[in-house]
């Protein structure tokens, strides 16, 4: 109704040695429908080519502006569409995300490879565990 787009600055690209890099649409208008669409957007997917090792593939998702638990839901969705060994990197500015991602990886058995906090931004890198594993 009365809510319009919040201007979001473009995401600075981290230095990467991967050659294949695809950029998809920026964050949208924040409506309920848009939240779901935005969460499912791959911001950057690098290294995803035939024959590449899973660990070479990294999906980056930008969850700045989304409130917890939505960044975690976005991570969950990204992990579901990734293969074991692939990695997902999430950028989120909700203050609860850093805590949530540690608990979530502990519960689900995925590996939290890195969790960096820069100012109000948390950057988590998760390696996807094998499917159908026993309970963690």
């Amino acid at each position: 109704m009365l809510l319009c787009a919040r201007p979001t600055p473009p995401l600075p690209l981290a230095a990467t040695r991967h050659k294949s890099l695809r950029t998809i649409a920026p964050p949208g208008d924040g409506s309920s429908t848009d939240r779901s669409a935005r969460r499912s957007q791959v911001v950057h997917r690098v290294g995803a080519r035939r024959g590449a090792k899973p660990e070479a593939t990294l999906e980056r998702i930008d969850c700045r502006g989304l409130y917890c638990p939505e960044p975690l839901i976005a991570l969950q969705e990204a992990v579901a569409r990734s293969a074991p060994g692939e990695r997902v990197e999430v950028r989120a500015d909700d203050p609860g995300f850093a805590d949530d991602v540690q608990l979530w990886t502990r519960a689900t058995g995925h590996t939290l490879e890195a969790l960096d906090q820069e100012g109000g931004l948390s950057i988590a890198r998760v390696r996807v565990a094998a499917r159908d594993q026993e309970e963690p």
């Binding site: 109704m1 009365l2 809510l3 319009c4 787009a5 919040r6 201007p7 208008d29 924040g30 409506s31 309920s32 429908t33 939240r35 779901s36 502006g65 409130y67 917890c68 638990p69 939505e70 975690l72 839901i73 969950q76 909700d94 203050p95 609860g96 805590d99 949530d100 608990l103 979530w104 502990r106 519960a107 689900t108 058995g109 309970e135 963690p136």
Partner: protein, 349 residues
């Protein structure tokens, strides 16, 4: 070895649902815990406003804590959105004391669980519900009604009260040992706490009661105001509109202009974050709150908001205060006399 039976566990992160997880795990069930996000969780709102508990910590997501502690897979499911809003605005089974459509909400969640059962090859659903614990949704007949309406008759297990309820299909089929389930009823938590100690749960959150904004009287008043001033509310109101009801003091200037004034830094930040094209106002030279205006205020309306913002700031005793109003690239400087007292109270929603 026979294949493990898989079940979906509804997990709020409170003591009862955590106990239910542990009980099912001990019965050899492969558990997938699900936690539903509706957008009305008080704890999440506190977290996003930077609110801290008595120990100075940001509250944790208790569902994640419980899943990590018990050691079960957890899935967060976002049910906030148009379908949920339609249910919320016109609940078939009505509201509780405030705007809490508990029965319809439970049915909504169980329907999602049913879909997930098929998707994940699970055989049944379980919850931490305790017979007689909640006045609306946990009475015997209501539990049965919810089962029937969600298409899960005989497939919802309540491990804490199971022996006070008719045997479910999982018990009849021998997937669960009914004798090892419990017969807890009522509002007291004494038995649950004893059971938690017996099962070795290290810690548990304080009682959950009132964890949903829809059960809150103040929230309900603002909710009703918003709905009554919105044409075709079911299709036009968004998740963010409902989030904003929980942030700051809320005022209504006329039929279409409302504004919120932050009560602390966290709320000021949350209003800025949710501004999405509305006017944001701050006093220029003195500390004070941020206000967000929704609607299309004319000059007089914007000046009135500026006066209220000034009245809540440190410059409230000054004759004139400069308040800056910004909307995207637009910026206006308004010099106003701070407004306080009864005339401001009269605008409160």
């Amino acid at each position: 070895m026979s294949e493990k039976i898989r079940a979906i566990g509804m997990l709020s992160g409170g003591l009862d649902s955590t106990l239910a997880l542990e009980i099912m795990k001990r019965q050899g069930i492969e558990v997938i815990a699900v936690n539903f996000y509706t957008g009305f969780c008080i704890t999440e709102t506190h977290r996003r406003s930077g609110w801290k508990n008595k120990r100075g910590e940001v509250p944790r997501n208790e569902a994640l804590v419980a899943a990590a502690d018990v050691g079960v897979e957890v899935e967060l499911i976002d049910i906030a959105g148009a379908d949920y809003n339609r249910m919320l605005l016109d609940p078939r089974y009505g509201y509780g004391k405030n705007v809490n459509p508990c029965i319809d909400c439970r049915i909504f969640m169980f329907e999602r669980c049913k879909a997930l059962m098929a998707e994940r090859d699970a055989r049944f659903v379980f919850t931490g519900e305790v017979l007689g614990q909640r006045p609306k949704s946990q009475r015997f007949h209501t539990l049965r009604l919810i089962e029937r309406a969600s298409g899960l008759e005989g497939l919802i297990v309540r491990p804490l009260s199971a022996r006070m309820l008719p045997p479910t299909i999982p018990e009849q089929e021998g997937w669960l040992d009914r004798a090892a389930l419990y017969d807890i009823t009522g509002r007291s938590r004494t038995r649950q706490m004893a059971l938690a100690r017996e099962l070795g749960l290290a810690s548990w959150p304080s009682p959950a009661g009132g964890c949903c904004f829809l059960t809150d009287e103040n929230y309900a008043r603002k909710f009703r105001d918003l709905v009554s001033h919105t044409e075709d509310a079911a299709s036009t109101l968004t998740h963010e509109d409902f989030l904003l009801l929980a942030i700051g003091r809320r005022f209504r200037l006329d039929e279409q202009v409302v504004f919120m004034v932050g009560r602390d830094e966290g709320e000021n930040a949350a209003l800025q974050r949710l501004a999405r094209g509305g006017w944001l106002l701050d006093a220029e030279e003195v500390p004070g709150p941020t206000a967000l205006v929704l609607g299309e205020p004319d000059d007089a309306a914007l000046e009135r908001v500026a006066a209220v913002v000034a009245g809540y700031g440190k410059g409230r005793d000054q004759p004139r205060v400069t308040v800056v109003a910004q909307r995207g690239e637009l910026r206006r400087s308004l010099e106003v006399a701070p407004e306080r007292g009864a005339s401001v109270d009269a605008l409160r929603v």
